[in-house]
Symmetry: C2
DNA sequence: CCAATCACCTAAATCGATTTAGGAAATTTT
DNA sequence: AAAATTTCCTAAATCGATTTAGGTGATTGG
């Protein structure tokens, strides 16, 4: 069934030369080794005649380079991560790297297992959106010599190169926008576990903003395993008790979806009854009715900076050595219809 | 910087035994080779003491198995493909395979380049949603001994195992739903290039359905590089000329988005002015206003069947040899608000 | 005619694992 | 005590490439 692939040796044998010669020629090092032009031609011709495909596994083993990097996120089918993955893929491809993508489902043990797996596969570096609460495991990985860049989520950790959005500021901007639009009682919809830095930072930003104008913070924490049902129950309860917020800041795209479902199900109009702004912009928000306001993350830029840092680590260049270890990139407020408060009250 | 990894040899040396011994023990073949229990313990202890990580590259080279498969689609950031990727990832992981994901941007030359790359990397199989018009290239790949399964899009080709949705039937069902809802003049929004089987099949289904009830087919072909602008211009023109369709069947998720944008921009109410149904369901459709009706593809099932067939090819089992080479899986109509015609006219 | 130079190529080690055939020492059998 | 087994382990080939130090034969120089 699976016939043996053509190897360097096969070419060498069928030409009666050494495989060193063949390797040199095929790697374009013929000139610097003074290999006769005519020999080059013969090798090249034979290689294409036999349809030679270099075995990258062997090459990688010998060179100690796999030309592969890993991207580990919680769920590649989440649109935020799939956009990020695509951006990383393009950068990697241009740099001659393949990309292995893994999803952790927010499970720390799965994350650890996948990281070990990638390490065993000799990936040259890893870009990771970690679900871990501390960075012991990751520091160990890094000390093992695996270039590592954290993306999206930061850990409380001085050692690891990290690239994130400015989530705190995003939380602030979004909240201020609600306040500026006339909302008096904005509810922040967060998600557990609480150690996920993106969410906690956004909550901080929210809290700062409301506190500053004398509004008491109001944060609901949604367990990530049961987002839709929990949010629906929450909205239902608040409505029944006549304690609805006048606006909601949904702090990531999964709670935004849940909130939209719940509001629709309970017949609550956006923005007439409840204003809504989302952390994370989604293509579909633009043409929804109402169009959803959002705090947009610079996905392409995140990928770019993270990938750049990873390459610096791989190439051992000290370019980023003197920069701050953690970069926070600016986010962008997109005002649409879902935060347009109708009447002043 | 990058210290050398601990190898089998290091363990062997530091224990004064052969590396064959170490390999056998670590692979659990100690018993069948009559290796002393005490020796096993020493090896295991030393391996964990030195924090040994097996080099999968070396292992793969020796075994002739990379435990990696490739998934090649047009764009991993498209939600359809990212859901598919996630499903494949889970299956692959359970089977002990890593997944390399590549995007082709619908470019045939890029697809060919990526396939070659994957082949050089010795992936054990490839799941491919191809942008190619014919299958010469792919047949060659397969004949090279690379297990290959086409997914999502089929080619006009008798040789390649293929797993797709029943797109023709989906086109029919969606169109019939429009007709049954009282629409008289449904426009099918297709996309070029025309050789993409998903779209051409859906158009066929649409055409069958309208023809059957005596309605003339009306298909607009949108060039895939300029979907949003083209669709907007089209809707604008039709509106200006007072030739608007009473409903639209958007034949994939990119034109659906474009149609929604265009309709909103031109102030056309869905479904009051124009009904809309989408091929491909998207999570966001459920809670949009109006909620969008859709023909849903069985993504998980597609992944499952394709992966199963790939494994059969890899394992050389003839399980699927007698089945039809192409499977078409049933799709599902989801009726929501966007196809609710108000008044009979 | 011998040595130096040049042009061209090869041998062999190496990366890190797996696997098979077989060997040495200890034990049992007769 | 010699022969036959057992028990436990090793040598060496192998996967397919890369790379370095060196070798061979022809040409040139003196």
């Amino acid at each position: 069934m699976k016939q043996k692939n053509v190897s360097l040796n096969d070419i060498a044998k069928s030409l009666g030369v050494s495989r060193a010669l063949v390797s040199l020629v095929l790697n374009g090092k013929a000139a610097e080794h003074g290999i006769a032009e005519s020999t080059c031609q013969r090798v090249l011709a034979k290689a294409s005649e036999l349809n030679y495909k270099p075995n990258q596994l062997a090459r990688s083993l010998r060179l100690g380079r796999s030309f592969t990097i890993g991207l580990v996120v919680s769920d590649i089918s989440n649109i935020f991560y799939s956009k990020l993955a695509r951006a990383v893929e393009d950068l990697a491809e241009r740099a001659g790297f393949s990309l292995v993508i893994c999803s952790t489902d927010e499970q720390v043990d799965k994350e650890q297992k996948l990281l070990r797996l990638l390490q065993n596969r000799q990936v040259e570096g890893i870009i990771l959106s970690s679900s871990q609460a501390d960075c012991d495991d990751l520091t160990r990985l890094k000390n093992d010599g695996v270039p590592l860049v954290l993306i999206d989520r930061k850990l409380d950790c001085k050692q690891l190169s990290t690239v994130v959005s400015n989530n705190r500021l995003g939380g602030e901007i979004g909240t201020k926008h609600l306040i500026d639009s006339g909302y008096k009682r904005p509810l922040a919809l967060a998600i557990t576990p609480a150690h996920i830095s993106t969410i906690s930072e956004r909550v901080k930003g929210y809290t700062n903003a409301v506190t500053e104008v004398g509004i008491a913070p109001w944060v609901a924490e949604v367990p990530f395993e049961e987002v839709p049902s929990y949010v629906e129950a929450l909205i239902g309860r608040l409505k029944a008790e006549n304690r609805l917020p006048d606006s909601i800041f949904a702090l990531n795209n999964s709670v935004t979806s849940a909130a939209l479902v719940a509001l629709k199900k309970h017949g609550l109009d956006v923005p007439a009854s409840v204003g809504l702004i989302s952390f994370d912009d989604i293509p579909y928000f633009e043409f929804m009715n109402p169009a959803i306001s959002a705090v947009e993350q610079p996905i392409a830029k995140l990928a770019e900076v993270a990938f750049g840092r990873l390459m610096d680590q791989i190439n051992g260049s000290s370019a980023t050595a003197y920069e701050s270890l953690t970069v926070e990139l600016p986010v962008n407020l997109i005002v649409r219809e879902s935060t347009t408060k109708q009447q002043p009250n």
